[in-house]
Amino acid sequence: MIKTDILIIGAGPTGLFAVFEAGLLKLKCHLIDALPQPGGQLSELYPKKPIYDIPGFPEVKAGELVDNLMEQIKSFQPGFTLGEKAQDIEKQDDGSFIVTTDKGTKHHAPIIAIAGGLGSFVPRKPPIKSLEDFEDRGVQYMIKDPEQFRNKSVVIAGGGDSALDWSIYLADIASEVILVHRRNEFRGALESVDRVKELKDMGKIKLITPAEVVDVTGDEHLKSVSIRKNNNPEEDFEIETDYFIPLFGLSPKLGPIADWGLEIEKNAIKVDNTLDYQTNIPGIYAIGDVNTYPGKLKLILCGFHEATLMCQSAFQKIHPDKRYVMKYTTVGGVTGFDGSKKEAPKSVVKAID
């Protein structure tokens, strides 16, 4: 069981900055994120794109902002549970919470801060009737263990990097790789596109374009997919296959958090914006893009502010009897949990002869 003071769900910019503000108050943080790396949308969707409205940064690339935040919080030694999705929450008798991920990792904390942004990133599923009936029975949206496809036939759908890269990778493992894409053009790294063409010419990948998988059939396990070429139902044909892997990227979904008993409005969590961004469940806060209140703006800079006020409130909840007043970092410096201390250089008092 992982124990911490504030369990932050979501390692985007707001969640990361909360670690800093909590650290100033000597509170420890642990973060859970469904993505394999911290940074949230900034890392996953647009790491190379510039942001112009971070105070003090006329221009900063999203990926750099994440790097900076990671550097800023380093001395507060946050823990990370990455690549796992917060699934269940259980309130304990003492008012604290145990949050369990989809992989069974348990986290125990008196305070939960949901900084989940738009939700956790999950694979986009094409709207194919009965697709869900074959999930984990031949239909997969991500590849965890490529070996399971050894000497099996695989149909991959999609036209981006992951569809190209996995087609290339599986070409040497699977007995047959068929790549189906709606366009003749592929969008991906040039090497990948070229490599797929080579493998196609060698007969190791079969390309079907412009086409779409429109149906899946089977019994216990997937048996075949139905493919529509040129958007023309009259050209539909069946292909027998062991696996169908649609790779259409990721999109954010609020997910299991929506079932935690929190008040939800407009696909976001309602919070008290007059005070501390607490939800309707005491001890659970929601900060950043995931929350809503009158006048809410989904801006990183607003998330930073919300994180700061949340931490003050969390401190009072954890230490109801401790007296505290906010201290400027310029005055108090920053003392890390690793023993490091950053502070403003002291001025000297010395006579000039």
């Binding site: 969707l45 647009y46 599923k125 999609g158 366009r183 969008r187 259409f248 999109s251 976001a268 989904k298």
Partner: protein, 110 residues
Amino acid sequence: MEDIRIKITDRDGKTHEVDAPTDMAMNLMEVIRSYELAPEGTIGICGGMAMCASCQCYVKSNTDLPDMEMDEEAMLAEAFFVKDNSRLACQIPITEQLDGLEVELAPEEI
């Protein structure tokens, strides 16, 4: 500069005729959101970067629209429910040339 009139059919099939300002650097996705013609969180999820297809719409009128750029084209190649007249509303800036535009929102991806 004057407002232009746009007809937008929402996901329930109801058509709304709305005024859209040409002087606010808005795009069609933002106009749809400003009139709340689709629930928050179901449109413009990526904020207008052509990185999701939540603002996909079908263009019903013969209005002359700006050509698609690569990002939009690539996203529509991966989107669902795409038709020949599909566009991403976030990639269509509101200009005077768009007066009389008619669009229908594509279904929401689930």
